[in-house]
Amino acid sequence: MCDVCQNLKDKAVLEKDLYYKLLDEILLTKASTNDPDFKIDTEMGEGEATKDEKQYRQDLQDLIKQVWDKKDKLSDSKIKELIDKLFINEDSEGKQLVAEFITDIYTTNAESMIDKLRELGIKKKIPKDSEVLDALLAWQQFAVEKVGMELYYGIMNQRLGKTYFQVAYGSKEET
């Protein structure tokens, strides 16, 4: 494993002390139930993220935050409606965000390259149909949809589990 790569800073190597650590510190202490803060990680990856990238990531985070903020006030069906509207539907906010942002960055960079090539005496145009762009859009939009689906399943899993324990063992949530 690379010792210096910042990207790998979160990678874990299980060493001989891990077993003791699992016993002494991790599993004897209940996992953190801290609420997510939905702030982007400014130290993620190599180098410094551009302003555009940070904005894109924050916009995506804000979609999840909308679910977080409203989940406890909404019924099962309303939660599904909200997630559909934000992540799942073809015209969902998330998919529109992806389409606009990715296309905009792609086009801006393509225009920049056209200028550079023109200075070298090479005439080019932005490709009318880009298989690469289409594939990237499809993947990014699917990834957003997947986030929505997993949020929905996570919420429903929590609700069903809570209901089960209440029905089976009373109102307490943990032993």
Partner: protein
């Protein structure tokens, strides 16, 4: 004879079945299987430590001291070193840990989520914990989606436009101490033609942001777009015959 024939048919079907899947699917499936195995080990540890958790620190130290003196075993984990086992009946869990020398952040968070959900089913953990972990996981995944989407749209906007132009592009790292060896190698082996430019080496790779300027490798203007690739003979009318790109050392292997 009948049994033999039937087995052969089954084997053929099995091979065909496996080949139908994408390699990435198989990899994901294997990872999922490994996750389940590892989850089992962790839940086993959780159960053991749940018992220990009922002991006071003094009692715990006493138990540990007794066990380590009387039943301690040690063994070598490749790439990690010597590991001492002091818990009885933990061989299986240790074996699973031995197999999981390296875990990516995604795998760790995935396992963590599975473990919490598993504990939830056993009512060891608060269901709320599993939900919070779900949101935290999705938040982290979204970060990767955003970073990767920005990086690729930026790079591909350049490459897609310049594809097949017979010009080269260097690989430029961010140039700080955090750059990994893989990216440095890409930089050393460049420049590369637009239609054969290497992919990002890992998540969080911000090499080539902003995208580097093109390097002229071929003399003359190229106005007929998307016509030439390095795999085809280049027309002598533009002077391409004077430069053998593959032998020039400009393109990395």
């Amino acid at each position: 004879m009948v049994v033999k024939k039937r087995r052969k048919v089954d084997e053929e079907e099995l091979i065909f079945f496996e080949e139908e899947y994408e390699p990435s699917f198989n990899q994901a499936s294997n990872q999922s299987d490994n996750s389940l195995l590892f989850l089992g080990g962790l839940i086993g540890l959780a159960g053991l430590t749940d018992v220990l958790g009922t002991l006071s620190p003094t009692e715990l130290e006493g138990v540990r001291g007794t066990i380590t003196e009387e039943a301690a075993t040690s063994f070598e984990i490749p790439g990690i070193g010597e590991v001492s086992e002091f818990m009885p009946n933990a061989d299986e869990a240790i074996g699973l840990i031995r197999d999981a020398e390296n875990l990516s952040p995604n795998e760790l968070s995935h396992l963590n989520q599975m473990m919490e959900e598993g504990k939830q089913y056993g009512r060891v953990s608060d269901p709320k914990t599993a939900e919070n972990i779900t949101f935290n996981n999705e938040s982290r995944i979204t970060e990767q989606i955003g970073q990767f989407g920005y990086h690729e749209s930026s790079v591909q906007g350049n490459l897609d436009t310049a594809a097949m132009e017979g010009i080269l592009f260097p690989w430029v790292t961010v140039g700080d101490e955090n750059v990994c060896d893989d990216c440095l190698e890409m930089e050393a082996n460049g420049p590369y033609p637009a239609n054969n430019y290497p992919e990002a080496q890992h998540y969080g790779d911000r090499c080539n942001e902003p995208f580097p300027d093109p390097i002229i490798a071929l003399p003359g203007d190229v106005e007929d777009e998307n016509k030439y690739t390095f795999d085809e003979p280049l027309p002598t009318s533009l002077g391409f015959d004077k430069l053998d790109i593959k032998k020039s050392g400009l393109i990395g292997t």
